[in-house]
Symmetry: C2
């Protein structure tokens, strides 16, 4: 990672109160987190592709369906759960449907809606893929750590995650409102 980030000429003009600002140690932690996240997601994506020829989003769709008791969801609800745009879900659902991993049918209750369902084939593939998924995570992430490490890591990351979820997207100027279409990365 470039150390240009620590260039004094480039640091923000905030008051340096000692522990309120980025320093070398914090940068190193940030880079470590970035790299671990990137390596882990890369490994997971490789595994998903190898074991099921699935992208991460496609896996998310199958897993979300598999997780919903009935195995079925409306397109909109699916999009909301995985935080993805509707047209994006339509596109991905089209690909999964071609492979017979899901099926789509109009809802009987509300004829505007489309209900997506996991097929038997889709459920089977999901089971196969999840097993490799957990194996990768165990090998890449947990094999290195003691139970204490895991507990501490979980406590810290849980706190950061909760804070991030609340954090407004900007310091000032709250956005008009969050639109579904913005969600798709």
């Amino acid at each position: 990672m470039p150390s240009a980030v620590t260039d004094p000429a480039a640091t923000p003009p905030e008051p340096q109160t000692g522990n309120s600002h980025i320093n070398e140690e914090r940068l190193a932690v940030y880079f470590a987190l970035s790299e671990v996240g990137a390596l882990l997601s890369h490994a997971v994506e490789q595994q998903l592709r190898r074991d099921g020829d699935l992208t991460y989003v496609q896996f998310q769709i199958l897993a979300t369906l598999g997780d919903s008791g009935s195995g079925s969801l409306r397109m909109t609800d699916l999009a909301d759960r995985i935080v993805y745009s509707r047209s994006g879900v339509t596109y991905q659902a089209g690909r999964l449907e071609r492979r017979r991993l899901i099926s789509r049918a109009p809802s009987t209750e509300d004829e505007r809606s489309t209900v997506v369902s996991l097929t038997a084939e889709g459920r089977k593939l999901l089971g196969q893929v999840i097993s490799g998924h957990t194996a990768v995570v165990q090998r890449m992430l947990f094999a290195t750590l003691s139970d204490d490490d895991i507990a501490v890591l979980g406590a810290i990351l849980g706190r950061v995650r909760d804070r991030m979820r609340q954090a407004p997207p900007r310091s000032a100027a709250p956005r008009k409102s969050r639109r579904a279409g913005e969600a798709g990365h």
Copy 2:
């Protein structure tokens, strides 16, 4: 995150020796790490786009050049540093060159090579963007944590990262050799 991952029918058939396998707590830690990584990188990408209309890869290119004393690198060296395919770097360099943030010129030493250089404009933009970059990381990641937390987190993640770097891509069957073309996500 779907709990289908914890479905007993889907767990790998490994011996459950107590601390060698994924359990609920570990899954929660994995999900927290994934979510923190995703939220952080999403926030960083938003910031880069907002403050400089740059993608992360483009920022990496500028930062890597800015970090190299001279502000210049060969295309191949640049590709190696940011772990990206050559044709991908050619494509991104084309975009950055159109915006006059970098320039390309044939090398005088080896006429096969192209030397990429940060322009004054590119250096200026880099400085502007980095300041927002560190601010985002401070706000999203470190504002929540004590100095102790940061130290512990750094120690654990550093260990995981070192291990991940060594880890062979598969359990068995080592690949023929790592090709540059594979690196570009």
